[in-house]
């Protein structure tokens, strides 16, 4: 067990997977000589050479499509799209091809590929470079969508994604790259599709993922220490498949639920979670399921405006208080 950053965990996992399996190779814009816009691939070109760490032309649809072809041959491409915002340019290849080839080829061709890409706001990168559109991909059968929040999950889920026989959207978060945490040594694989209960509690469930799962955990600890509120935190880790059982079981225990998500409210991940809860735990609910999400505006550039648009700990605490108060919970 070592304490390392989320960035380091990603880097080390890419490296160890490149060593483990000669069919694994990396492809993307500026990942070689420049070592990636966020330096996840630092040193890998030097170590593995340009065959396995390929700098590509600036054409997202192009390299995602080429990766699909390579995967159909049996290779295991790990594509980096510089940010999730640019994945929109590759939407047809992701949604119409990567996600569908296995089914449309009668199960005769697999597409074992990973698309790594960071989302998230808060970096003053403005509206076209700060989006959280993971739910677009989570909607599509044939894809898997994972959203690690911790360095340990970054490692375990990336290894699982690379070894998976289906296409995986591996969605990172810009604001998590420098966060630190304990990461198990050696070969460490986290099963895709299992949520984590990162803090147990009895009074209210907070469901979240990616960077907001880290915020949720901080808030839960603070409420425990300052107010004696016992909040349980469910970190989804995977949006598709979604671990409905863990969510429902938690709410059956607590009777209250709040979703914290960095994407937009309407049609967002929280809507799916709220529906899952009412289908699975309706009779256990003491209060309506609440959602804390981003303001429904293109994300502003100016710092105070950007902060105003994004969900945060303060907003989460307020909604938790409202939910508790509505059920006359003594705190």
């Amino acid at each position: 067990m070592a304490v390392i950053t989320y960035r380091q965990a990603l880097h080390d996992t890419l490296r160890s997977e490149l060593i483990r399996d000669p069919n694994v190779f990396l492809m993307g814009e500026e990942i070689g000589v420049f070592e990636g816009s966020y330096k996840i691939t630092a040193g890998l070109l030097t170590e593995f050479g340009p065959e396995r760490v390929r700098d590509t032309p600036i054409a997202e649809e192009g390299f995602v499509g080429a990766a699909i072809g390579a995967a159909m041959l049996g290779l295991r491409p790990v594509v980096e799209i510089m940010t999730i915002n640019f994945s929109i340019l590759a939407m047809d290849q992701i949604v119409n091809h990567a996600a569908k080839i296995h089914a449309m080829f009668g199960g005769q061709s697999k597409v074992p590929m990973v698309i790594r890409t960071p989302g998230g706001g808060g970096q003053q990168l403005a509206a076209t470079h700060s989006q959280n559109i993971e739910v677009w991909y989570a909607h599509v059968p044939g894809l898997k969508v994972v959203v690690p929040a911790t360095p340990a999950d970054a490692k375990g889920l990336l290894a699982a994604s690379i070894r998976d026989d289906d296409p995986v959207m591996f969605i990172e978060n810009l604001a998590l790259y420098n966060t630190k945490g304990n990461v198990p040594d050696g070969d460490y694989v986290t099963e895709i599709g299992k949520a984590a209960v990162t803090k147990e509690g009895t009074d209210i469930t907070i469901v979240s993922y990616s960077r907001m799962a880290a915020v949720a955990l901080d808030v839960a600890k603070r409420l425990q220490d300052d107010e004696g509120v016992s909040a349980e935190v469910v970190d989804l880790r995977s949006l598709r498949p979604l671990d409905r059982a863990t969510i429902v079981n938690s709410v059956k225990k607590t009777g209250r639920a709040v979703v914290l998500e960095e994407d937009w409210l309407s049609y967002g991940v929280g809507a799916e979670i709220a529906a899952t809860i009412q289908e699975g735990a309706f009779d256990y609910l003491d209060a309506p399921v609440r959602r804390v999400a981003a303001a429904e505006v293109p994300l502003p550039y100016a710092k105070p405006l950007e902060l105003a648009a994004l969900p945060d700990a303060t907003a989460l605490v307020k909604v938790i208080h409202e939910t508790l108060d509505a059920t006359r919970f003594r705190r």
Binding site: F25, P57, A59, A67, G69, Q108, P141, K144, L242
Partner: protein, 367 residues
């Protein structure tokens, strides 16, 4: 602007033709072709049988037995010529019209109908035939082919990839990005563009100001225009392009200049947007008639040969029709079989729910 008409180029020196519409054999020093009469007879048989199959499939659609059919009528030479140039290890990425190439890869024609009858997404094993499933999304397969070729290159294989697309697809971003990737990585891929003059109702002039084969030069690899109705020229040029790719010289663009003599699909009526005289002009360049003329005039085949091919075609059509009509209906529960190679708990959950739902009808006395 000086517009170069495609038709002008078709008669210029930048146009590879080895068999004229009248059946006269030409030589081209860049694309030499030694071919025996027996081999030409075999090509004739291929051409005639795929046309007969295409006619039967069109009839089946008109009779309500297929949901839709994409006719290859007029493009037989482009497909048979290029298809017969392939080595067994070469990989093919088709559009949805490459019935002639599928024939060359040994796929039973009735297998092609499974998709168009709507019983599955395509009934053949792409790995066994080295022929990918049909891609309906325009141009997308050019990228898959390029990536596949890059993988073959990495594996040190001595095979090449050929990918089919049309004049309309040449405007897609995917195709242009495939050109860039293939050039950047020197991928062993042959881009086989069948310019059949029409993207449904939009003429080639709307896609490009220059002849399409010339686009390759801008991407840094060779492009050539071949008479797409000349099976010998398509064979010779594709052989050379595949060899070029196999030898590590990278991608190659072939523009097979041909004509869609039928409709885009059976859902289309071309009389709404093109002149009958155009079709008449192209009938004079028919890909099969010229081979017949060559064989007859040279004394390489007599009427008994042509009759035997015709009756073989009728037998093929009858077999295909019978196979089409007896295709089993898929079971609804099958929809959950293949969304993921490795399965998914959500899909398992839905399958169980659906089984329960279906069982409910059984209790009520069936559905």
């Amino acid at each position: 602007m000086v517009a170069v008409s495609s038709m002008d180029v078709a008669t210029s020196s930048e146009f590879v033709q080895l068999l004229t519409p009248e059946g006269q054999r030409l030589e081209n020093p860049e694309y030499p072709l030694e071919i025996t009469p027996e081999e030409v007879r075999a090509l004739y048989r291929d051409l005639a049988l795929v046309r007969r199959f295409d006619v039967e499939a069109t009839a089946l659609q008109r009779q309500g037995e297929l949901g839709i059919w994409a006719q290859l009528l007029g493009q037989e030479a482009a497909q048979i010529g290029s298809g017969r140039a392939l080595a067994p290890g070469d990989m093919v990425f088709p559009t949805y019209r490459e019935h002639g190439v599928a024939w060359c890869r040994g796929i039973p024609p009735e297998k092609l109908l499974e998709l168009f009858r709507g019983v599955n997404f395509g009934g053949w094993d792409p790995g066994r035939h080295n022929f990918s499933l049909y891609t309906i999304v325009i141009g997308a397969q050019t990228l898959h082919a390029t990536g596949y070729a890059m993988g073959m290159q990495r594996d040190g294989a001595e095979d090449a990839v050929i990918v089919y697309f049309g004049d309309g697809a040449s405007s897609e971003g995917d195709v242009n990005e495939a050109f860039i990737f293939a050039a950047s990585y020197n991928a062993p891929v042959v881009f086989f563009l069948q310019n059949n003059q029409w993207a449904i109702s939009v003429p080639e002039e709307r896609q490009s100001r220059i002849p399409l084969f010339q686009r390759a030069h801008g991407f840094g690899f060779p492009g050539v225009r071949v008479d797409g109705n000349d099976v010998l020229a398509c064979l010779a040029v594709t052989r050379k392009a595949l060899q070029h790719a196999r030898e590590g010289q990278g991608p190659f663009l072939i523009e097979a200049f041909t004509y869609r003599m039928g409709a885009h699909t059976t859902s289309d009526d071309p009389t709404r947007y093109r002149l009958a005289s155009e079709l008449e002009t192209w009938k004079l360049r028919d890909p099969i008639e010229r081979v017949k003329a060559y064989l007859s005039r040279g004394g390489f085949a007599d009427s008994s040969f042509f009759d035997s091919v015709e009756s073989e075609g009728d037998e093929l059509a009858a077999r295909v029709r019978a196979a089409c009509l007896s295709m089993p209906e898929p079971k609804p529960i099958d929809i959950f079989d293949q969304p993921y190679a490795g399965g998914s708990p959500l899909v398992d959950e839905e399958r169980a729910t659906f089984e329960h739902y279906q069982a409910g009808f059984a209790e009520e006395g069936g559905r």
